[in-house]
Symmetry: C2
Subunit: 198 residues, 2 copies
């Protein structure tokens, strides 16, 4: 059965294919007529649902979308849904990291706890929806380390490790990441809804 | 009775003199040997107490300090204690406003609610402390208006008004501001502790 993942990111599509085994996962590149959804939500769930519902309706197929971000405790969970545009420009990873590190410059090290969070949403063309969440707790460091990943990975060390998420291999990161956890939590829900029709 | 206000800002000293009538309010300019306190707290109360306690101890006199900021609801109350250094540099008002407006660029207007908050703290040389808080609810606009005030005043409209706090006269702003409210709430506590010795 075909499911659209509401992204044009090939890495994300490959990741979901590994997790949602048995489904035919396709990306938005197969639907060039579908426009990008503006993320006007103020929670991960709102944004994930906005994207999944819009794509399911436009494509006439079940759609999966996610919204993710870094939640820093002393910033009351921000950058949160604003993670990709924290410095004011969408997707400016380096500027976002520079800004975050400057903002917490006077905060003592032991207070630099944070977590990555992801909400994964499934929407059917009928409008029916389901969501699942995943988190990865850890803390921030003040100097970048590692060349893998993207976003805030170079300054985030997961609890129980000494490496940043940018120093983990893609497989190691999949196994523990907020996105991996959210998609694995969503997988049985997708199966239940689409295969058994429950 | 002499009270030190932990600031070198003449406007703040004049404001506290008007509110704490009957006390001899002096600023840090009379104590050039006292170093600036780094605001390592993550709440307004922590930072206000850090400053008041440090100055009371160093000066051997009762000291009053405050910490204030703008709390934006969709940012979970941030910039908050990071208001003055939101863009990464302390006191860069224009850059801070530019960044905040860019961050909420995709957020619908009706969700741009915010409030100014202030914690005012009194500390005695003995280590005894008291705090009082004040807030001013309102919402953000996307274009600056007004030439008074400082910080985020040009983009903040208090509830019940159509003008920004930068369009209010200093007297109008004193009457409703978070700082005015916090200091007026602290005044009877100061009197009680220092005059009646309760």
């Amino acid at each position: 059965m075909k499911i659209v993942l509401a992204t044009r990111n090939k890495g994300k599509i490959a990741e979901l294919r590994r997790i949602l085994d048995g489904f035919d996962i396709v990306g938005l590149e197969e639907f060039p007529e579908i426009e990008d959804v503006v993320e006007t939500g103020v929670t991960f769930e709102e944004n994930a649902l906005l994207k999944a519902v819009a794509v399911a309706k436009a494509a006439g197929l079940p759609a999966v979308a996610d919204d993710s971000g870094l939640c820093v405790d002393v910033l009351n969970g921000m950058p949160g849904v604003f993670s990709a545009r924290w410095s004011g420009r969408h997707g400016a990873d380096e500027a976002n990291i520079d800004l975050l590190l400057a903002q917490v410059g006077d905060v003592p090290d032991h207070l630099l706890t944070a977590y990555f969070a992801c909400c994964a949403a499934l929407a059917l063309p009928t409008g029916e929806t389901r969501v699942a969440v995943g988190t990865l707790p850890g803390s921030l460091i003040r100097e970048r380390r590692g060349a893998h990943g993207f976003g805030y990975d170079p300054i985030f060390v997961p609890d129980g490790d000494v490496r940043t998420t940018a120093e983990l291999s893609p497989g190691e990161k999949d196994a523990i990441s907020h996105r991996g956890r959210a998609f694995r939590a969503l997988a049985p829900i997708v199966t239940e809804l689409l295969v058994t029709g429950a």
